[in-house]
Structures are given as C-alpha cells and as structure tokens.
C-alpha cells in the first residue's frame, strides 16, 4: 500500500475518571489507501468515536503515531482542507442559512469567492436541497439537516471524510438515503471515507469492514 491517505500505528487512549482508568484504545493500527471506503463497527462504548476523534486530530493519543498523507501535522490549519467530518448530531449553525452553513467550511480557509458559492450551491443541489438554500436549519427536517452536514463536509474537496454514526438520529429510510448519498458522492469525487456505524447493512456497503473490540481491531 503506497502513499496512504492516513496511517495510524499503536494508538492508545486511556480515560481517567477519579481513580478509575478506562483503557478505551489499546493499540490501534490503521492504514487507509486513497479512495477506499471503510466501515468501523463495534458495540456501544467500544471507542469508535474516540478513535475517530484521534484520527481527525481533535484529540491526542496517549501513545502511537498518526500521519495524514505521510505528514504528522494534524493541526487545525491542515484539517480544514484535508478533512471533512459528519457527526451523529448535525451541529449546523442556527443563525446561518443552509448555503452559508455549507460555505462556513470554506470561510475558515479564507474568504469565499463566487466559485465557492457556486460549488456550495451545486453540492446542495446534489444532496437534493437546491430549493432550501435560504432556509435556516430550524426549518429543515433531521434528514435534510444531515444532508446539509454532508454537503458541508464535502465543501473543501477534502481527501478524507470521517463520519460518526451519521444516521444515528434518522429513521431507517432516511438513514439509508443519507448513506447512499455519502457513498455515492465519495465514489464520484474519489474521496476516501471512514464510516462509523451500528448498522450492519450500511457497513456492508463499504469496501473494507472493520470491527473494534477490546480496544483493537478484531
């Protein structure tokens, strides 16, 4: 496997609450090739979200090494262009309309231009929200909001998308539609996808399927 998008080795994460130590991750190794789609399953509390946060550079491991495209820098500046994240809850900014929420990802890199606006509008069209661009998040349904979050994650043409149970708050049908959309867009744009999910059906749609158990990949 040459030039991995992401490589992690020996990731260890332990939480301390009072005098109890919770060893969540006990040495996770992961190498992701460009364009791959990977699903991660595991029972509740097995450390899937924790792992995703480490991979996203949002949290630091107690031990182990992480590199994006061979570079160990996982700081905020690099993250904005390299990574798109979709969460279980949609976390849109309530004061901004749908278009501006998508553009927010671009704004953090620098002031958006006309081309960026067009791209945001195009992405919204592709997630089926062309008519709702001027609506506020509060005026959308849960599935629609998650589609906005998907568009936002894709806005900066990231190399990698990390999705943490993106269907967790959606009904079965809507959830399936969002997963189809996410997988379709990633395949189309050649974006690498890591999908954390409880749903075996959704996981099965990914090319590589991993199971987190006892702090390691089984």
């Amino acid at each position: 496997m040459s030039n991995p998008i992401l490589s992690a080795s020996g990731l260890v994460k332990t939480f301390r609450s009072g005098d109890r130590r919770i060893e969540v991750l006990r040495g996770v190794d992961l190498e992701i090739a460009p364009g791959e789609s990977i699903s991660i399953r595991g029972e509740s509390g097995s450390g899937k979200s924790t792992l995703l946060h480490l991979l996203a550079g949002l949290d630091v491991p107690d031990a182990g090494a992480l590199a994006w495209e061979g570079v160990a820098d996982t700081g905020a500046k690099r993250r904005a262009a390299f990574l798109g994240i979709v969460f279980q809850s949609f976390y849109l900014i309530p004061e901004l309309d749908v278009l501006q929420n998508v553009l927010m990802a671009r704004r953090i890199l620098g002031a958006p231009g006309a081309a960026d606006r067009a791209r945001a509008a195009d992405l919204l069209k592709r997630v089926g929200l062309a008519e709702r661009m001027e609506h506020l998040p509060a005026q959308l349904s849960g599935g629609e909001r998650q589609r906005v979050a998907v568009a936002r994650a894709l806005m900066n043409s990231p190399r990698l998308i990390l999705a943490d149970e993106p269907t967790g708050n959606l009904d079965e049908q809507t959830g399936a539609a969002v997963i189809e959309l996410l997988l379709g867009l990633c395949r189309e744009t050649g974006t690498t996808l890591v999908l954390v999910t409880h749903n075996a059906e959704h996981a099965a749609k990914c090319a590589r399927r991993l199971l987190l158990h006892n702090g390691r990949f089984a």
Binding site: I85, Q100, M104, L136
Partner: protein
C-alpha cells in the same frame, strides 16, 4: 471578511430574526448607561458653562480690583487696552444702595456703568427687556426684572435712591435722597443677578459712593481665542502692585472646584451603571457560549483555531458595545435636547418650577457636554463591553473540540 467577524455579526444579527434577544437586551443596557452618563454630565457641565457665560456676559473674562478703589482709572483703562489679547476694558463702581418707591424699600446691588466703553466689554443691550440702554443718563436708572417686580415699578416711574454715605456722615447735615427715572428693565437669566440689581451711569455711582474720580474696578474682555490666564499675567505686569487682575476662573475658583468635584463623583458613580451593563453582556455571552458549546466544537472540527474562536465571541462583546454606545449617544442627546420640556413636564406633575429656578439660579436647565467627557464616556463603554466579551471568549477557546462535541 474573516469567518469569525462574519459569524460574530451573524450571531448578533441573525438573518430573518427581527428581535435578536441577546443583542437587544445587552445593547439596551449599555445604551441606558451611556445615555444616563451623557444626560447627567451634560447638565452638570451646563451649570459650569452657564456660570461662565453669565460672568463673562456681565463682567468680561477678567476683573481688575484693588485693595480700595482705583484712581486714575482712565490711564489704567488705556494702558490695559494696549495689552495684546485685550479686546476692551470698562471701569465700574459697585455697592449696595437703598431704593424706595411709594414707601416700599429695597436694597439692591448697584452697578455703575461707563457708557462710553461698556459696549467694548459686555453687550448689556441684549438683556434689556423693556426700555433701552441708550436712554440711561445721570438722572436715570435701569432695574433688574426681579427688583422692578418687588418694587412694583413700571417704565417711566421715578424712584428715590439713598446712598450709604448718609450713614457715615457724622455731622448734622442731611443728605437728601436722589431721584431717578426708571428707563429700562433688564433680565440676564440668572436668578441672583436678576433678583436685585440697579444699573446706573458710572458718574451717578461715583457720586452715590463719594468716589470722586475713582472706580471700584475694571472689567476686561479678552479677544476670542486668547488664553485668559496669559492675558491676566500680561495685564498684571503693567499694573501697579496694589491693583491686580483676576480671571473669572480665579474669582469663582471655589465654586468651580465644587462643581468639578460633583461632576467627577457623578461620573464615577454612573460608570458603575455601564459596568453593570457590561456584566449583563458578559453573562448573556457566557450563556451563549454554553448554549453553543457543540457548535464551537464543530468549528474546531472544521479547522478553526482557538484564537479565531475567541475572537468570534470577543467581537460580539465589541459589537454590543458599538451598537449600545451608538444608541446611548442618540438617546442621551435626544433627552438633552428636550431636557427643558421634560423638566417642565415633571414639575407640572410634581409642582415646584419656581423652587427649581431659585435653587439652581437658572430659569432654564443648561447643557454643555465637554468633548473630553464625551470621549471618556464612549471609550469607557467600548472598553467595558470589550472586556465583557473577553471572559466568555477565553471560555469558548478553552473548550476542547472533543469535549465540546461530547457535551449534551
């Protein structure tokens, strides 16, 4: 526009919401504090300003006095008028008299005016309510409005004037009262001056006080733009040691000092109002930060730096400060503009318009806001609001994205 500025603006003024709760409440509280400061300091500054106006309108900016009386005043006036910065000088005589009209006595302050030079120093004409200053001669007087009312004198009446010299004469010679025709009624707008003053020619005043060719003092008008204190010291250089010049500021130093002290105290106390407003802004911003914890996490996940997140919230404090100060300035100046209507409305309900005038010496509420005070108010409001934004901003930037995302 950097994203944090954009988002700060959008959070203060969200699209499609006419009443952004946080912005309105906190901006209103800042605005009330600013308006209060402007109104109170404006009116208090007005008292000082009004007193200055009153003194300089009636006596010029500089008064020259001696231990007793000033002799050879004509040369003195001529010499003073050659001093650079002096626009004009006029001698005067002053003292207490007794005036009687139809058996009603009064004891006014007398001011003897040199008609030849008075106009170079003060334009009394504009205060003449009835009659005219031109009609004044050595056998006539002008009375202040309050004195005329007290005596029941109308224009053209003849009053008897008794000089204090009557008391000092030890021999048996009786000095008869002098009769004078009232040719004018004068009102300056200051309670104390208007209540009991009699204006006459310098000649008459000199006769009444037995001054012969002496005067009690000289009033000096300073050219516009000249520094009063500089002119005072220049005049003192050419005057003999027993005759001294004082600026109006020196003459009323105690009063002005008390006024300044009161103003500073008021400013100090009222700044707490703005401080409380800043605390309100801060607590509302803190609530906002807590409410937005997960969005802050998302911003972090999207690649926002801590510094930028801090700026985003700090700018909201600044925004509240700017909007609140702007509204406060508008409100404050509006109230100042309509202050007399407000006072009239209040005294109409509670009574006591007369009392107010007597107590404060002015018939109208004055107003004068110094630029220094205005700048201080604006800067204080902006600085406090910015500080109010800093603590929530630090709290927001301290949130680790993971913890922010985990919070429920």
């Amino acid at each position: 526009m950097p994203w944090y500025l954009y988002l700060a603006f959008k959070q203060l003024f969200p699209t499609g919401r006419r009443f952004p709760f946080f912005t309105v409440i906190s901006a209103v509280s800042v605005a009330l504090g600013v308006a209060l400061l402007i109104v109170v300091l404006g009116v208090m500054g007005g008292f000082g300003y009004q007193i200055r106006e009153m003194i300089t309108d009636t006596e010029g900016e500089i008064q020259i006095k001696a231990q007793g009386s000033i002799s050879h005043y004509r040369e003195a006036v001529k010499k003073i008028e050659t001093v650079p910065g002096v626009a004009g000088a006029t001698p005067y005589a002053a003292g207490v008299l007794m005036v009687q009209y139809q058996n009603k006595p009064a004891f006014p302050q007398m001011r003897g005016l040199d008609l030849g030079s008075i106009n170079r120093v003060v334009s009394l004409d504009r205060f003449v309510r009835l009659g005219s200053l031109d009609a004044l001669d050595d056998d006539s007087v002008i009375l202040s409005g309050g004195l005329a009312d007290a005596l029941g004198v109308r224009l053209g009446a003849v009053v008897d004037i008794y000089t204090p010299l009557m008391l000092s004469r030890k021999d048996s010679e009786v000095i008869l009262p002098r009769t004078a025709k009232v040719v004018g009624i004068l009102e300056i707008g200051h309670q104390q001056l208007d209540s009991s003053t009699l204006y006459c020619t310098l000649r008459m005043a000199q006769d009444l006080y037995g001054l012969n060719e002496d005067v009690h003092g000289i009033n000096v008008r300073v050219k516009p733009g000249e520094k009063e204190d500089a002119v005072v010291s220049r005049i003192n250089e050419i005057l003999p040691a027993e005759v001294r010049a004082f600026s109006w500021r020196d003459s009323f130093a105690d009063f002005l000092w008390v006024l300044q002290l009161e103003k500073n105290m008021m400013m100090f106390v009222l700044l707490f109002v703005v401080l409380v407003a800043a605390f309100l802004t801060m607590s509302l911003l803190l609530v906002l930060v807590l409410k937005k914890t997960r969005e802050i996490g998302v911003l972090g996940a999207l690649g926002a730096s801590r510094r930028q997140i801090a700026l985003c919230f700090c700018l909201q404090g600044v925004g509240v400060g700017v909007v609140g100060t702007g509204a406060g300035l508008a409100l404050g100046f509006t109230v100042l503009h309509f202050r007399n209507d407000l006072v009239r409305a209040i005294t109409h309900v509670t009574g006591g318009q007369e009392l107010l005038a007597r107590f404060y010496q002015f018939s109208e509420l004055p107003e004068h806001l110094e630029n220094r005070d205005l700048a201080l108010i604006v800067v204080a409001a902006l600085v406090l609001s910015t500080l109010a934004g800093i603590i929530p901003a630090i709290l927001a930037s301290r949130l680790k994205p993971v913890e922010a995302l985990r919070s429920e």
